[in-house]
Amino acid sequence: MAASERPAVEAIGVTRIIEGAVSTTLVQDINLDIPKGQFAVITGPSGSGKSSLLYILGLLDRPTKGSVRLDGRETAGLDAEALADLRLTQLGFVFQFHFLLPEFSALENVALPLRRLGRDSDTTILARAQSLLEEFGLGGMSHKRPDQLSGGERQRVALARALVNKPLVVLADEPTGNLDSRNSELVFDLFSRLAKAGQTIVAVTHDMELAKRADRRIRMVDGRVVADEH
């Protein structure tokens, strides 16, 4: 298989069970592959396992059974450090509640992953972070701290940060859950635009209208994929 044909991310027989007094099955027997450049959304009722699946695809959580491949590479045997390195270089997260560092400016927040990577000079890093913010209409906000930004602006900063290391896949868990419809549309417009430019995106959403803009809708119920419409 040529590199471009390998799926960006694949779940192979993924099951995640949390052992306890009563064990809970978060997701069960998921087989899924997301090709490169696809904009996929995961929908489904609350508690159906959407977030759980996203954490597993994003290598934040490990499946109890089955495995996840990133760009064709098996991740099951990797240690915590190798998984962290993959998250740094290949993955970008956006969460529902704008997870930004509160003491850092928008620009510094966006620059964080690049700084952790430590490959470029500080000027290069800041220039890239600034250009991303400008691309998302936040050019004038770069020196504001998160508490000085609106919810929609924060979410776009978070998206810029997720993209700054040019990840293979962006994973977004209800990125518009806290936004009004105008800002939600803004975020989904950005997703569509990025996907057209080749960015792979997996987003969880409750909003069926927004879901229509995606290339693909995966529906989950009770930890299983029940519908997969392209």
Binding site: S51, D61, A84, L88, T89, L91, E103, F104
Partner: protein
Amino acid sequence: MRTLGLFAGIALTHLRHRRRQTLVSVLGVAIGVGFSIAMAALMQGFQQFFIDRIINAAPHVVMYDDYRDPPAQPVSRVYGDATVEISGLKPLRERRGIKDARAAIAALETRPGIAVAPVLSGPLILSYGAKDLSISVIGIDPEREVRVTTLANDMVEGSLALLRTNPNGIVVGSGLMKKLGLRMGQQVTAASPTGSPISMKVVGRFETGLAAVDQGTAYVLLKKAQILQDQPDAINQIRVRLADVALASDTAKSIERQFGYRTESWEETNSNVLSIFVVQNSIMFSTVGAILLVAAFGIYNIISTVVYEKARDIAILKSMGFREGDVRLIFVLEGALVGLIGALAGWALGYLLTKLLGIIPLPGQGGMIRRPTSGFILYESFTHYLVSGGFAMVAAVAAGFIPARKAARLDPVEIIRGGV
């Protein structure tokens, strides 16, 4: 290296977030470090001065005219370990003094790096006016004595040479002179428990700085001491000065082995004082240790609080691809930063405190030693700064490490699920 700067930057924002608590911890470290520097300067200054005085003023090694184990009496030589107990025995009376002293001195002088002086010391009652004082008189050979002690340098009035021109001359300590109300050139009556009283002329005054010596010692010619003590030709100490004082203990042992007589190094003679120093130092170290321990608890406390408050940030960093080690390092750096700033502030505080101790005038002249300056005698050493600063850093890093490890182990999924 570049990422280290990033971690330090994050660590700093966390500390800034907890400004007041951080300040308190920094202060705790600073006080611990500052006081340990000042106390070390004070203690070591006192101890070093004291030891220097002893080493300079007194001979390094003294051979006495007795034995470490009392000699076996004829009766036990005969009966050995018999169970017969004989009481009321009179021990065999031996003539006092070192036997064959002249030969012993000659033998000792063949050793390299050694100066030797014979001495007869004994008790003496000095009477002047209505006052009698019991002191220790030391009969010396002035030319030899100056080679084994700093007596010549300690002379503040008159001279040792005057003993030669005044066979009835006596050189007394400053404190003694003051106690008796004596002045130079005056006559004083000297009597030992065994000899007859002699009238002697004060021809010199010395001052070593050691109060006990200055108040209770006088020097006369060796010959005169032998007459005073009614021990013609006897000497009961051979005083030794070494080119290398570090060899004192070994030399004492080897002399004792060679001649059998009890021979003490200056360390052994002053072992009670030296053991007080050990106690002093232990008190100092435990006090400073306690201060630093409290400071370490303070550091542990802020970093634990920050870890708790910043759990969300930790989850963000980990989801972003920061490794566990990165997160641990960030929080260890926080401890190290508190330690570093505290140590630097402590250095400044220690420096100021030391300077202050050096200038405050002390009341009175009492105590064991007389000081050459008005303030405390201080021993300033960069080692004190390095040791206290290093200790503070180690304590700070250790205090930071425990919560840092906890931070590194936080599960980001749990925190992200927790939301808000």
